[in-house]
């Protein structure tokens, strides 16, 4: 009896993975308009009425973090002696701070003090927290501090400023919306990633794009499983695919992808985006009727189960393992599949899971990250899964 109790509570490593990575927090929809409105050069391409149906639809989704995500946070600047800075910041974390930052400020060298900048949720009582933390490290006085309310506008703007045009490979550039492409004749993908994954700088995105260049010869139907900002779906079209579909469980990702498609002059006749719920892997048409009326996303009827010639899934290990059957079910026999978002050490696990379904598995790696490429096994053919991995040494191994 004791053993059962013991194992129940200590199962930290679990075999049942939740599909948590993309959907754990529904970010409040109006954050997207915030992102779109900040771009210095362009006007928001998505009209504000667009965001209202989303918020209307998702009020019924009860999730604890939606209310706190857009509320202003408290940013507290504390001065304390250098020697206890480390311990003090750990104590602050225990007593309610969401993050602490210790500046390596050269100006503070002369004095004995150092500044800690800490972020608290708005509801937290900063006084109590700081005095408790000071108490627990044995510091007699309460250090001086000042409280500011931080707005999300600030850090969002700073993050956007750090995007630069990126050359993935010869003749392929990824350019942020507010900068001009350095090489106008090359294939340029214009992006505003917003809060979705896929800015083009990450090695897994790079590996997937290189893979796409090899796989897409013209006229294929492409599925981007876990599309994020839509970068892979858009790239496939630019390389010559005839039809591209991107699916994701994060509504913000769908919005970003829609926006990016418009930026690259891609119309709805060969580009579609679908929001799928995270519980099942098939799109649910009922919840999103309101969205569809106003944003013209295509609903997928359950009866038509389309198959694709090329599928790429750049997500994470656990979702890849869990959704293996679903991913392969979307592929026609002999199609090419790419799997990425996994570290080199996670490759054997993926190979184990996918080898009954796929053949000709080849692995390419950049910097610790891997990309598996395979072809689908049908009764006679096999799929090669390209797993895109990231390796630090920059060695690409293509079989």
């Amino acid at each position: 009896m004791a053993l059962r109790h013991f194992f129940k509570h200590l199962t930290i490593l679990t075999s049942s993975y939740g599909f948590c990575t993309l959907s754990s927090r529904f970010i409040h929809p109006s954050l997207t308009t915030l992102f779109n409105n900040i771009n210095p050069k362009t006007q928001p391409l998505i009209p504000t009425k667009f965001s209202l149906p989303l918020s209307h639809c998702y009020t019924s989704v009860s999730h604890p973090s939606t209310s706190t995500l857009l509320s202003p946070y408290l940013s507290v600047r504390i001065r304390c002696p250098k020697d206890i800075a480390d311990v003090f910041s750990e104590a602050l974390m225990c007593f309610g701070a969401t993050s602490t930052t210790v500046d390596e400020d050269d100006n503070c060298d002369t004095s004995n003090e150092i500044c800690i900048e800490s972020i608290f949720p708005e509801s937290e009582d900063v006084d109590v927290c700081i005095s408790q933390a000071a108490d627990s490290v044995g510091f007699k006085m309460i250090p001086s501090y000042e409280v500011k309310t931080g707005e999300h506008y600030d850090w969002i703007k700073k993050t956007q400023e750090s995007f630069d045009p990126v050359e993935v490979t010869e003749g392929l550039w990824i350019v942020p919306e507010w900068k001009t492409p350095p090489d106008v004749k090359a294939t340029n993908i214009i992006l505003n990633p917003g809060l979705a994954f896929g800015t083009g700088e990450h090695p897994t995105t790079r590996l997937c794009l290189l893979l796409l260049q090899r796989l897409i010869k013209g006229g294929e139907r492409f599925l981007d499983y876990g599309t994020g900002s839509g970068i892979l779906a858009i790239a496939a079209l630019k390389f010559g695919a005839s039809f591209s579909v991107g699916i994701d469980i994060d509504p913000l990702a769908i919005t970003s992808a829609h926006h990016n498609a418009a930026l690259n002059d891609i119309g709805l006749e060969n580009f579609q985006l679908r929001l799928v719920s995270s519980n099942t892997s098939s799109p649910s048409t009922d919840e999103h009727k309101d969205i569809q009326k106003q944003t013209s996303f295509e609903a997928v009827a359950e009866s038509e189960h389309e198959t694709y010639d090329v599928i790429v899934a750049n997500i994470l290990l656990n979702p890849l393992l869990e959704l293996a059957d679903d991913i392969v079910s979307h592929a026609r026999p002999g199609a090419g599949i790419g799997l990425s978002g996994i570290l080199s050490e996670q490759v054997p696990c993926i190979i184990d899971r996918y080898s009954p379904l796929l053949d000709n598995i080849s692995v390419s790696e950049i910097d610790d990250w891997a990309c598996l490429s395979d072809t689908v096994i049908t009764s006679c053919n096999t799929l090669s899964i390209f797993a895109v991995t990231h390796t630090r040494t920059g060695i690409n191994v293509y079989f």
Binding site: F6, H9, S24, R25, D154, I156, L343
Partner: protein, 155 residues
Amino acid sequence: MSTLKEILTRRPVAATIRLTVPAGGARPAPPVGPALGQYRLNLMAFCKDFNARTQKYKPDTPMSVTITAFKDNTFEFTVKSPSVTWYLKKAAGIESGSSRPGHLVATTLSVRHIYEIAKIKQSDPYCQYMSLESICKSIIGTASTMGIKVVKDLD
């Protein structure tokens, strides 16, 4: 022991950031967003990297991560396993420790629990040089400050 090459190419550090993020759940929103956005770090890269490396933990386990931001907008980070107090609370199935530690006992745990927690903690970068016995002793110490009693066998 840093090599000479490492010392010469060491990048100037801009800041050290400590955060608590649920495993597999890093997103470019608070708490990650404001803290890293301040130093113009690549949020997406951090989120993706962090999520990939914490795949083997149960989702939403609070992991403490320390990020070293360099002045050239690059960064490195180390992920530590959840705190001992969190493990103890999970093992005992309680929400918070005792209100009067030392006087009031909140719950009891067996040494087997402590041993398992010590094994997980041994893979932490800070505890690798310590023997399992000394890690156990420090866990028992933490447990007693929370009002958790450790007995040899739970009956």
